[in-house]
Symmetry: C2
Subunit: 201 residues, 2 copies
């Protein structure tokens, strides 16, 4: 059963600093705008690879990388958020993303997503580490053993591949992206505009 | 003589669509914030070349290019501005930028900059065309013959090279960029934040 009313898709990548910013504020802004949010985790790696990049553009272009860190520091401070760049950047987000897809089916994707982003960008933790994921799942009172065992299962892998292919098909080239109908909005700084678009009568 | 009070440097590239957006609104926003603006035209080409790009990233990455056009259409519509992508993109901005540097010395840089951007992104004109530049200079009641003859002079060339080297040195990697003291802000969507930073007590 799908709720009526305006909807916005929130496409995010766990390794993405700007996705962290959006994940921490989208629910409050969407509620105020009367818009429902569909959380869509995906992997940017294959999309970057298709355009010839083997890592984040923030690593490929050092001036852009230095700028991104300062931009995040300023934006996070304005919003009362903490921000640290983890020692390894970008992080390997494969396991966390597969878990989030399961969370989408089971109703815990939103708190799990926020917990992963906080571990990564507030505490600098390594989100590829199964022990960290185990701790996060338990903190949400979830059956960690069952969920961790599903990460490597073929159906989980296939779903993430489909999700990422869908992102590419729909024109997503960075994260976060917001989609409403045929309209794509890229970047945390387009969140308000995307919500206004979704809420139009 | 330099005016007292807060200042913001506006670094722009004539070929840049987002620089067009900022050029059309920075004066009104800066006046409201009590901030003086220093207009700093420069060339992005050499900076892109230094990071391995031989054209605009909007051409190198087609999904990003398609998005940019739609993003500009939406933003321009919201602001009551026209927007067309010129037939050749990015345009060769060398001559217009050298003229703008002279305009900085002589006090006509702001109306000239707006006239160039309007010709390019409202009317789709070719800003590399000396006849167009002649028309724009005359429309501002300037001595077009004298100014066009200065475009290829060694001191004009040297000044633009210095300006572009300064941009690179100060961490500029895209346009528009705004600089206040040691703080760099990138993108038309950071203009309000940059002005607020410059206006801080």
């Amino acid at each position: 059963m799908s709720a009526p009313g305006p909807k916005l898709e929130f496409w995010y990548e766990f390794a993405s600093t700007y996705s962290y910013l959006s994940a921490m504020r989208i629910d409050a802004l969407a509620a105020a705008a009367g818009v429902a949010v569909a959380w869509k985790p995906f992997l940017l790696g294959p999309i970057f690879k298709a355009q010839g990049w083997d890592t984040s553009p923030f690593n490929l272009y050092p001036a852009k990388g230095r700028y991104m860190v300062r931009d995040l520091e300023r934006l996070a401070a304005d919003r009362g958020l903490a921000f640290v760049l983890p020692a390894v950047f970008p992080q390997n987000s494969l396991r966390a993303t597969r878990l989030a897809l399961i969370g989408g089916d089971e109703g815990w994707i939103v708190p799990f997503t926020r917990a992963v982003f906080a571990a990564e960008f507030v505490h600098g933790a390594d989100i590829a580490d199964t022990r960290l994921l185990d701790t996060l799942l338990r903190s949400l009172h979830l059956d960690s053993e069952r969920l961790l065992s599903r990460i490597a299962q073929p159906d989980t892998k296939a779903r993430l591949q489909q999700r990422t292919a869908e992102a590419q098909q729909r024109g997503v080239f960075g994260a976060p992206s917001f989609i409403c109908g045929g309209e794509l909005f890229w970047g945390d700084d387009r969140l308000e505009q995307a919500l206004a678009w979704a809420a139009r009568p």
